[in-house]
């Protein structure tokens, strides 16, 4: 069933199957550079005469800047430039609707750690000493550190930003309603409303943020930065520096992890550039780990109320979500997050009556933004936990209950998402089969349990955030006399393997070994624009673009072979580094010869492929575009764990993680994404929490911001479900974010199976479990004595 659709759409796949790079386990093309320490990251660059840039940070949560005196710092020997916010007041931000950040604070500071002034000096000691000489006079304002506070109407000077809702510190409010939610709740067989709490969590990539900027003798600006989206940085720099984009070059060296945390343009990137322009020397700003935590835009701390109604047919009848999320100091991706917390609950199960209110506040804390599973993770937790409760209360098997509620393939959700292929049922079935679900669920001794949860995620946003008609991904291919294929793209390799994907698809289409392809994806000067590595879009969009560019290249090379041999182009396939006449396989022209022939009178071959977006789709309601994607990924996890009854400490033993990735172009890389997602999701479920002590981050370090260690990470079984998306390159969909979603609720559901207790607050740490167990014991003792009294 799956393949007919697929073959119709991709006539060349027969050939592809034969030389078979697609679907092969291919080590990432940069793997050996990394495993030998030869890969260069931004901080590994050593430009001559580079200065150290440091930022003076606000010790106040919210305060007016009365004055800044930088004279002493400027006079200090070894100091080359000092910068304050007033010198660069142009605002920027990742979304066109939330341009609310500046390089440094202009009139007021809005969180502890907000940048106030910056210096560039000969060395770190001098830079730090110079910061101490800067005198800033503040007038503290009331700090907003709580949802309730931010929802209050306040005078203008207490608003964190100019644009807020109804004179409060509410940043954004959205509503959607479909069907008859209240009616379904009235008629429900089972219903429950519950409030869920989530602290913030952080990307915690291992490479700290780092930027080097050089405004050179030609009045050109080069900015090397650890970025997932060089293009957005490029735009923001142009705006803040008031320079034409063509005079600015952004270079992305290897990036030490992103997960969404390096996808905004950041103030320090502006500061490095501004400082360099002031003193015309290269300036490096490398963050301490603590600064990374302040600057980072983690997952929103959230309070999410969810109501679930199950109808008499034991199907999901209505879903009612009210999400209140803490955006911290800046807008960032927050408008999108505000929508995603609701709209992405419309799969993988059919919901016909759906209501959503989403609200995002500003507060005087580090900003929140996009993190792996952007906007979908917390609501997913709440929804899947309630589904589990419903199944339990109704005496239904939670796995079968999910299957019975699954959306079909090729359908539309109530909010008009277009669903194409859908592997949710296969995901559930295969994960359960491998886990031995039927023999374990409800059958293990007290303290040991198994749980299941599903997930649903976008594969790139159908609509770009900048409406200028430029394709979302463009890839250039060049083939010259040496036979090497040079691939230019601005899709950012951040460890997920996008360079490998580009090379693999090119090599596959052109029938050459992968090491004949070289990827240059590092510079905005040479690469065509691509809106970068976020939103799980790269394989789908840049993959389609590179495929198209490679197919055009194939046409040209085959043309060369046809010229050389006199056979018509239609008979040729590219395989095995040759152009081969498929009707008479004796006729073989080496790839390089065909290529050189094609170059005759025209020079090196250059082709372009692009991907703009899917055909128009989606509803007419407000916010209909949010969450629209050309295709969606589906996933289901089964988690088995055990609770140490003495301490309450949970230990996850195994995770069976099934994910519909459309098609696994490179199973090694798909597994890697799934395993990484599981690790990160379990961390949020079990131990990660970005804690505050009033306005201060309590744990801005890797000791107290806890990620699961190697000894606590369970055995993860990645199960690849392939459904062959009709529009994805060779059928592929995303696999880098969706597989995080089921991890959290599967843990909570397994805990219920283990000890009969539900948890509604993240993270579920040993102390919380132990407390709940104590309460359970007391209650049991209480009812036992009551029973005895009767």
């Amino acid at each position: 069933m799956r393949s007919d659709r697929h073959e119709k759409l991709h006539p060349h796949d027969d050939a592809v199957q034969r030389h078979g790079l697609i679907g092969k386990r291919i080590p990432l093309i940069d793997a050996q550079r990394k495993s030998t320490g030869q890969e260069l990251y931004t901080d590994d660059l050593r430009p001559a005469d580079c200065l150290v840039g440091k930022i003076l940070r606000s010790p106040h949560s919210h305060a007016k800047i009365v004055s800044i005196d930088t004279r002493a710092a400027e006079a200090m020997p070894g100091v080359h430039a000092v910068l304050t916010g007033k010198e660069a007041p142009n605002s920027f931000g990742v979304l066109p609707v939330s341009q609310d950040e500046t390089a440094l604070a202009v009139d007021k500071v809005i969180f502890i750690g907000d940048g106030v002034a910056a210096v560039a000096a000969d060395d770190e000691e001098t830079a730090l000493a110079a910061l101490r000489l800067i005198r800033v006079e503040y007038e503290p304002l009331r700090a907003f550190l709580d949802f309730a506070d931010s929802l209050e109407e306040v005078p203008e000077e207490l608003r964190i930003h100019k644009k807020t809702v109804d004179g409060t510190n509410l940043h954004k409010q959205v509503r959607q309603e479909f069907g008859d939610v209240d009616g379904e709740f009235d008629r429900a067989l089972w219903k429950k409303r519950m409030s869920f709490r989530f602290p913030g969590v952080q990307h915690a990539f291992t490479e700290p943020l780092i930027t080097i900027a050089h405004y050179d003798a030609d009045d050109r600006m080069t900015v090397w930065s650890a970025q997932q989206v060089p293009h957005y940085l490029h735009r923001a720099l142009a705006k803040v520096l008031e320079m034409p984009m063509h005079k600015i070059r952004v270079i992305r060296k290897a990036v030490g992890g992103g997960f969404g945390g390096k996808s905004d343009p950041f103030p320090h990137e502006m500061v490095a550039a501004l400082l360099s322009r002031k003193c015309r020397k290269p300036v490096r700003i490398l963050f301490d780990r603590e600064e990374v935590f302040y600057n980072n835009h983690g997952r929103h701390p959230s309070k999410i109320d969810v109501g679930l109604a199950i109808g008499k047919d034991k199907k999901v009848a209505a879903l009612d979500i009210d999400a209140l999320i803490d955006g911290g100091a800046w807008g960032s991706f927050g408008v999108v997050t505000t929508y995603y917390n609701g709209v992405l609950a419309n799969g993988p199960y059919r919901v016909d009556n759906f209501r959503y209110r989403g609200r995002r506040i500003y507060s005087n804390r580090p900003a929140s933004g996009a993190m792996r599973g952007h906007g979908a993770v917390n609501t997913r937790f709440a929804y899947e936990v309630l589904l589990d409760e419903a199944a339990f209360d109704l005496g239904l098997d939670p796995a079968q209950f999910r299957i019975d509620n699954a959306l079909p393939a090729y359908t539309k959700t109530i909010n008009e998402f277009r669903i194409t292929t859908n592997g949710i049922v296969e995901c559930i079935e295969r994960a359960c089969a491998m886990a031995g679900w039927k023999d374990k669920y409800g059958k293990m001794p007290f303290g040991r349990g198994i749980g299941i949860a599903g997930g649903f995620y976008i594969s790139g946003s159908a609509l770009p955030i900048h409406w200028d008609g430029i394709p979302q991904s463009t890839v250039h291919l060049k083939a010259d006399f040496d036979g090497g294929i040079t691939i230019h793209s601005l899709a950012a390799e951040i460890g997920q393997g996008s360079d490998t994907m580009l090379a693999q698809i090119s090599a596959d289409v052109l029938g050459v070994p992968i090491d004949q392809c070289r990827v240059y994806s590092d510079s905005t000067d040479t690469a065509p624009i691509d809106i970068g590595s976020y939103s799980s879009r790269v394989t789908f969009m840049a993959g389609n673009a590179v495929r198209r560019a490679a197919e055009e290249m194939r046409r040209l090379v085959i043309g060369g072979a046809a010229d050389l041999t006199g056979y018509p182009p239609e008979v040729f396939v590219l395989e095995d580094a040759h152009a081969i006449n498929a009707t008479n396989r004796e006729v073989r022209v080496p790839f390089v010869e065909a290529l050189r022939r094609a170059m005759k009178d025209r020079g090196a071959l250059q082709t372009t492929g692009c991907y703009s977006g899917p055909p128009p789709m989606g509803g007419q309601h407000k916010g209909a575009a949010a969450g629209l994607s050309p295709t969606y990924s589906f996933q289901a996890f089964v988690v088995e764990l055990e609770v140490d009854l003495l301490t309450g400490k949970p230990k996850v033993h195994e995770v069976w993680a099934a994910h519909d990735c459309g098609r696994a172009l490179n199973p090694l890389a798909v597994e890697a994404q799934i395993e990484g997602c599981v690790h990160m999701g379990l961390g949020q479920a079990l131990c990660e929490s970005f804690d505050y002590n009033k306005g201060n981050v309590e744990n801005p370090n890797f000791l107290d911001y806890r990620m699961l260690s190697s000894t606590e990470t369970p055995d993860i079984h990645a199960i690849l479900v392939e459904t062959y998306d009709p529009e994805g390159p060779f059928g592929a969909k995303e696999c880098g974010e969706g597989p995080l979603l089921p991890a959290l609720p599967a843990v909570a559901n397994a805990l219920h199976d283990a000890i009969g207790i539900r948890f509604y607050e993240m993270p579920i740490t040993a102390d919380k479990i132990w407390r709940a167990l104590q309460k359970q014991k007391k209650a049991a003792a209480g009812s036992a004595t009551q029973g005895a009294a009767k």
Partner: protein, 188 residues
Amino acid sequence: MTTASRSDSRRGDPARPDNRLLRLRVNGTVHSVAAPPHAILLDVLRDVLGLVGTKRGCDMGTCGCCNVLIDGRAVMSCLVLAHDAQGKDIQTIEGLAFDGPDMHPLSKAWAECGGSQCGFCTPGFIVTCHELLANEAAPSRTRIAEAISGNVCRCTGYKKILDAVELAAARIREAEPASAPAKSGGSK
């Protein structure tokens, strides 16, 4: 004598008044460098000697990105004074990645198994695993997980890292008896 190209500080600058000369033996080569008494080994390796394979993740002993071998033992170079490392044998990823022209089995297996995604943690892990495999020829997966428990990887979920260390250990075991009369076929 090595001095910094003022890459990002004057740390290696002999003219700096608080700098003291020291000799560091790194990857078999003795370097004379200038660094102040409070210079951290990690900074000297990266900023003065240009050995940038050793990474800086946290600077506080909590991530293992900066691990190097000192006298054969994996330690966090962000918590070692450069002057305290004088007279010791320091090995960094640059010195461990290759055995002559051949990639070391750990680095090779790492690449094949998908032990790196972003790769920023990789040098530190590989350094740690060099110590492990020097002491134990066939560590179990549990034992490997313990040995790397001071190294943080945010990308991989550790599974493919365990795969890589197991594979490397197996290959090293296979190669060792091969120094006795070579079997035909060799490694598969």
